[in-house]
Amino acid sequence: MYFGLSEEQQSLEDNIKKYLEDNASLDSIKEVAGGDSAKSADIHKGLLELGISGLMVPEEYGGLELDMLFASVVSGALGSGTAPVPYAGAYVMAPIALTLAGTDTQKENWLPKIAGGEAVVGIGLSEYVGAREDAAITASGKTISGRCLFVIDAKEADAYILANKAGELYLVDAKAKGISVTDLVTVDKTRPSIELNLDNVEAELLPGSENNQDIINKVLDAGRLMLAADSIGASQVMLDKAVAYSLERKQFGRVIGSFQAVKHMCAEMAAELEPCHSMIWHASHCYDHDPSQARLMACHTKAHVSEVGKQISKTATEVHGGMGFTDELGLHYWFKRIGLNRQLLGSPELVREEAARIQNFDQSPAGGQSKKEVGNPLLV
């Protein structure tokens, strides 16, 4: 029995963090946020060399065919460094969707390119998760029409995989006729969001997803795990920065980290955050190895981490005092990244409701799925 990261996973995490420290400094992130797309392309290129695009692609299509824990580890490292690159959609959800539901041709067309870092495939599940503004797509023959909001990793993508309300997945070439792309400006300047409007655009169904919500749910679970991992990575950095700042900053003749109020703020953050690391590992493990728990764990991890992340991004900013509010220190890049992750693929209330449905709370009678405690509840 071993619960934790393998050496390979640990070293992949370390490599990506090291790469980002060296190549995606705060100054670089500020440049990207200011619109320097060459800078983000550079960072993206370096990360591709570290292999981030091939993790989820089967070996027969040139990928590494690793398990979800690898993907989470990478996402956490990217979150730590507020990496301005596509990942959750393009390199995790999209290859999973293609692998699980695509035809051989679809796989051959796209998976090797994804693994090789030659194609970015954006993914749009918002309508399935919970449609805002009545955004919806409808299929008619070989085309689809409608609107998709918050398509993930879709800026400058080569293709999109888009879901309708029933959870069926359509593959659309980004150069197809009838597509218009609108930038959505969010608080998070490290990952662009876009909206697609589609007018009779040629589209291929991923046939495995037809009348089968298991596929989209698997894609969704993976995406939620990635967002959660990203927030955990970002939250850990915010906590670390808060502690470090509190040990430097002096007021009243002492470092502020010697004040019990500040110490307890940091201790509370740590106490909330530490189990999240184990939780994402466990949830990622269940994704591959425990189907009975996989969906429940993915939902709960996304929701729980979102709540913890919200609290930490607030508290860590407070520990920094006025400096936490400035662009100079740049703490807000992590704050906003955690803020966007919270809302993508379902805000906590929605995801918890899904966790309730997964457990059939609405149907099963008392005692149905749970075991009664034996003995004295005070025996701890």
Binding site: R132, L184, V187, Q251, I256, F325, D327, Q343, P348, R352
Partner: protein
């Protein structure tokens, strides 16, 4: 308990209402600060007693009695209309009361009237990079050289520095005195050579604050309020003012109404967010807190009219509770919008001009600013609950 203001005030409200109606065409958008249109408007408000009401005529005020209820009626009626509001800002809220209490006759003559008329805009030079919560440790130096102060050092979080003509500033003039007794309160013209202003870009994307650098800045020796070394006392009168003003319950209540509207119009799969009980329960929790705050504010209002009501605690908690609650409220709005709640700046589909995200971040700033909420808790426990101050640490 009597929540009616009484007939005198009903008459006054009617008068204000009719003024507001008569002037609803006035529009100063686009007029520059200190322009004659703005100054004229400000003077008109003073003439009617809708601004600077209790400030003596000789210093440019209306010369009426202090009447909090009338002040409140004016604020309420003006808030209902798009007509230009009376000027605010640190000069009016902090400097003017300070000068009236502690300034020399010359200072009052020189500064109060033009400040009230909007001809002089002030900024505040208190915080320094190394003196935030521990403000009294400030190090910007002032040395008397003949009949001039020579000022060197740096201030931070100076909000209107870019527009201000004057700065009221805390400066260490007695380096050998204990830290609270070595500070003087100086008035510095912002066009004095040696002043450099650098805006601070902040998390909201705006730059509402600045750093201000002073290098051999020379001002007349007479530009001091109070005595040398008494600046801490002088400043403290006005700090009290600032803390009270950070959490207006009417604004909070309006914001709650806007949130309710938002949750009625925002939908998920066509269902209104307000019809989702988990969201609705969060809304109702917030509403309960807002109503509690509103009642607390009524009590404070009452105590400023009626003598003898002890509202020490009610007053000390307003900044802490008000900023936390507002941050919570704005955060709920973002969750209610979900992905759409992350939109910002000039994005398509942006709700309410992005004010929810803006305020969510800005109120985190206010939780920190104006005495962090950790300092507020110190103050509440020490001054309102009578708990001991942090013991002195040797060498600190």
């Amino acid at each position: 308990m009597e929540l009616e203001y009484g007939p005198e005030y009903d008459d006054f409200r009617a008068e204000v209402k009719s003024f507001v109606k008569e002037n609803e065409g006035v529009n100063l958008i686009g007029k520059s600060l200190r322009s004659s249109d703005r100054v004229d408007w400000q003077q008109k408000l003073i003439d009617h007693g809708y601004f600077a009401r209790s400030i003596p005529k000789e210093y440019g005020g209306f010369g009426g009695d202090m009447d909090i209820l009338k002040t409140r009626i004016i604020a309420e009626e003006f808030a209902k209309s798009p007509i230009p509001k009376p000027l605010g800002g640190q000069g009016i809220q902090m400097l003017v009361p300070t000068l009236l209490e502690l300034g020399t006759e010359d200072q009052k003559q020189a500064y109060v009237k033009p400040t009230l008329r909007g001809e002089i805009i002030w900024c505040q030079g208190y915080s320094e990079p190394n003196s935030g919560s521990d403000l009294a440790s400030l190090q910007t130096k002032g040395e008397l050289d003949g009949d001039e102060w020579v000022i060197n050092g740096q201030k931070i979080w100076t909000s209107t520095a870019k527009f201000a003509q004057m700065c009221f500033c805390l400066v260490r003039t007695e380096p050998d005195a204990p830290k609270h007794q070595g500070i003087s309160y100086l008035l510095i013209p912002m066009d004095t050579p040696g002043i450099e202003i650098r805006p601070i870009m902040q998390m909201t994307g705006d730059a509402d604050f600045n750093e201000v650098f002073f290098t051999d800045v020379r001002i007349p020796a007479t530009n001091i309020v109070g005595e040398r070394g008494e600046g801490w006392k002088v400043a403290n009168a006005t700090l009290t003012h600032e803390r009270g003003s950070l959490a207006d319950p009417d604004v909070m209540m309006n914001r709650l109404y806007a949130l309710i509207d938002l949750m009625k119009s925002e939908t998920i799969d066509g269902e209104r967010v307000i019809d989702k009980p988990a969201f609705r329960d969060r809304l109702l929790r917030v509403q309960g807190k807002v109503l509690a705050q509103q009642a607390n504010a009524l009590r404070l209002l009452s105590s400023s009219i009626n003598k003898g009501q002890d509202t020490t605690m009610a007053r000390f908690i307003t900044k802490l509770i008000g900023t936390e609650l507002r941050h919570e409220l704005e955060g709920l709005a973002i969750d209610a919008m979900g992905e759409m709640g992350t939109l910002y700046e000039d994005s398509p589909h942006l709700r309410d001009s992005g004010s929810w995200q803006m305020s969510y971040m800005y109120f985190l700033g206010l939780i920190i600013g104006g005495g962090t909420n950790q300092i507020q808790k110190n103050i509440i426990s020490e001054r309102a609950l009578g708990m001991p101050k942090e013991p002195k640490i040797p060498g600190a």
